[in-house]
């Protein structure tokens, strides 16, 4: 509430050993409060045995805003060994000050701020943290591989209801966004290719660019990145909030493995659906490439597709599909692991989600480079 009244004032006067603090006007939370940094600085700079006294003007209005200021000065006075004269203050103000002293301070509360290690120690702990992070990924991968083996050998069960539900949300619900992005990527590749190739009179070769680019690289990568943002994030958020709600603990204490129960259906769903979505993305990307090529450059459809067939082979298509299997596993692993690593508190879910998306995309880009390099070496 805004309190109407005279503007709050504060001043300081030094008289021998006494520091007189002059206060007046409306010292309320809703009103304009004066700049008191000068006063604080002067008190902090004072030396020797000082006594702080307050002079309150007639008609001063106040609430906890003034109490907070005096409270702060009292703390500085205590640290510097000054005496502070609080007794003459009005009853009401003293009662407000009392409120701040009601609960004793925790002794270990102050320790938290002053704890800054040297940069070598920080570097060391960061490196150790990273190594542990990698170990966790390795452990987690091992765990789900074991769970998968158990599933295949019939020792573990999959909750089919969960699996179908996840399968649906992963694939069917992602169709529009995958279509949109694939259409744009196909169109862009075709347009860029056409503009460049036109200078050499080789417009027909745009089909080579579109086919090769989409099938080998862009189809799988774009689908992977979309699902990292869409599904990987969802996995991390779901599992993270399950962890906060102690649902994971409840599974563990029942002796049900969270890996089998939560991670495996998600991994399998993404592993199966990523290639199908990539296939879908490939088709849309190539079609949109053709639409742009025909519309802008006048490359007729039969020429476009026959040219594509003459240079782009089955192995290009298969390489893209292979990548999509890999990306599916990576995105699901990143999402589930980050979810399981989620800390406590509502903010932690947000952090887990962010980390899942970042890890998912990083892993996609990295593994794509490795696969391309391997393919080039093998001559695929």
């Amino acid at each position: 509430m805004l309190v109407k009244g005279r503007k709050a004032q504060a001043g300081i006067l030094e008289e021998g050993n006494a520091l007189l603090i002059n206060l007046g006007g409306s010292w309320c939370i809703g009103s304009q409060l004066p700049d008191t940094r000068g006063i604080v600085r002067q008190i902090e700079a004072a030396e020797g045995e000082k006594e702080i006294r307050f002079l309150l003007e007639q008609g001063i209005q106040y609430d906890t805003a003034l109490a907070s200021f005096i409270f702060r000065l009292a703390r500085i006075a205590r640290e510097k060994g000054f005496t502070i004269e609080l007794d003459p203050l009005p009853e009401q103000l003293k009662r407000l000050l009392e409120l701040g002293r009601k609960v004793p301070e925790k002794e270990d509360a102050a320790k938290k701020t002053g704890d800054s290690a040297s940069w070598i120690a920080q570097l060391g702990s960061e490196v150790i943290r990273r190594i542990y992070g990698m170990l966790e990924i390795a452990t987690f991968t091992g765990e789900w591989v074991l769970a998968f083996i158990k599933l295949v050998s019939g020792k573990a069960r999959l909750r089919w209801e969960d699996f179908w539900h996840i399968l649906r949300t992963v694939s069917l619900d992602a169709l529009p966004i995958v279509a949109l992005i694939s259409f744009l990527v196909g169109a862009i590749i075709s347009f860029l290719g056409a503009v460049t190739l036109k200078q050499f009179g080789a417009e027909f070769a745009v089909s080579y660019l579109v086919g090769y680019g989409i099938l080998r690289e862009m189809g799988a990568i774009m689908t992977g990145i979309i699902l990292a943002g869409r599904t990987g994030a969802a996995f991390a958020a779901q599992i993270g909030s399950m962890k906060i709600n102690e649902e994971i603990d409840a599974l563990r204490t029942l002796g049900i493995s969270p890996i089998e129960f939560i991670v495996l259906p998600r991994l399998l769903a993404l592993f199966l659906m990523m290639p199908l979505l990539t296939l879908y993305s490939n088709v849309i990307g190539i079609l949109s490439g053709w639409v742009v090529a025909e519309g802008l450059m006048g490359v007729p459809g039969p020429v476009f597709f026959s040219e594509m067939q003459s240079v782009v082979g089955l192995e290009d298509f298969l390489l893209g599909i292979f990548k999509s299997f890999v990306f599916g596993i990576l995105v699901a692993t990143a999402g589930c692991l980050r979810g399981l690593q989620c800390g406590s508190g509502a903010g932690a879910v947000g952090i887990a989600t962010t980390r899942a998306v970042v890890a998912g995309i990083t892993l996609i880009v990295f593994s794509n480079a490795v696969i391309d390099w391997a393919a080039a070496t093998l001559g695929v």
Partner: protein, 263 residues
Amino acid sequence: MAEKIQIKVDNLTMAYGSFVLQRDLNFDVRKGEILAIMGPSGCGKSSLLKHMLGLLEPAQGKIHYGNVSFTDARRKVRQSILRRCGVLYQNGALWSTMTVGENVALPLQEFTSLGKDRIAEIVDFKLSVVGLKGFESYFPSELSGGMRKRAGLARAIALDPDILFFDEPSAGLDPVSSRNLDELILETRKSLGATIVLVSHELPSIFTVADRAVYLDATERRMGGIGSPHELLQNPPSPAVHAFLTRNHSERTGEKPSSNSPS
């Protein structure tokens, strides 16, 4: 001693990294009793429960179930011990993607070879026990906090456990619901004959249900005493126990606190 010891906490030290939460805890849980673990916020009550359930590992010391060292046990052994335990978590911890009925049914599906009909029958019965009959097809998000806890209890007693753990059963409940839950706890003990370990800082419920209570001191970071709540109230082993019990006790009996200032 005549009573059989069900759980033995042996020199347990709990720590997060270098921060010691509690050191040298030593106490037993006797068969058939209700043992409360009490203390102020942040003293490590819930962490102690998690240690007993193997969700956290001790920094030092051991936990025994009967003659078996739970701390040293292999995963298989641990799971077989835990299968005899039921846990009610603070917010129920119902699996949010499943209905209430499916939540209660899952332990039965996983660990018994009962047929669908039998399981449905048992689920129906356990939900009636907690007063949630007819809520089988509700999702946890559609229930109130108190109902979620009761559904959590139904799940915890699904397999007729020997030992039940309760993490802050009355937290976040209004006085009436919390009293109802206390009665339900006593009732479950009577009918199932289960040993119950309950974490709580709410004295009304501790005085109502607990046979014995362990006090964890938050500043000393040690066990501050063990005994029946009334014994501890009459002969407090430390000032902290006295302060803890009297402050809460006065709230329970409706006595006015010593001063009228808000504290």
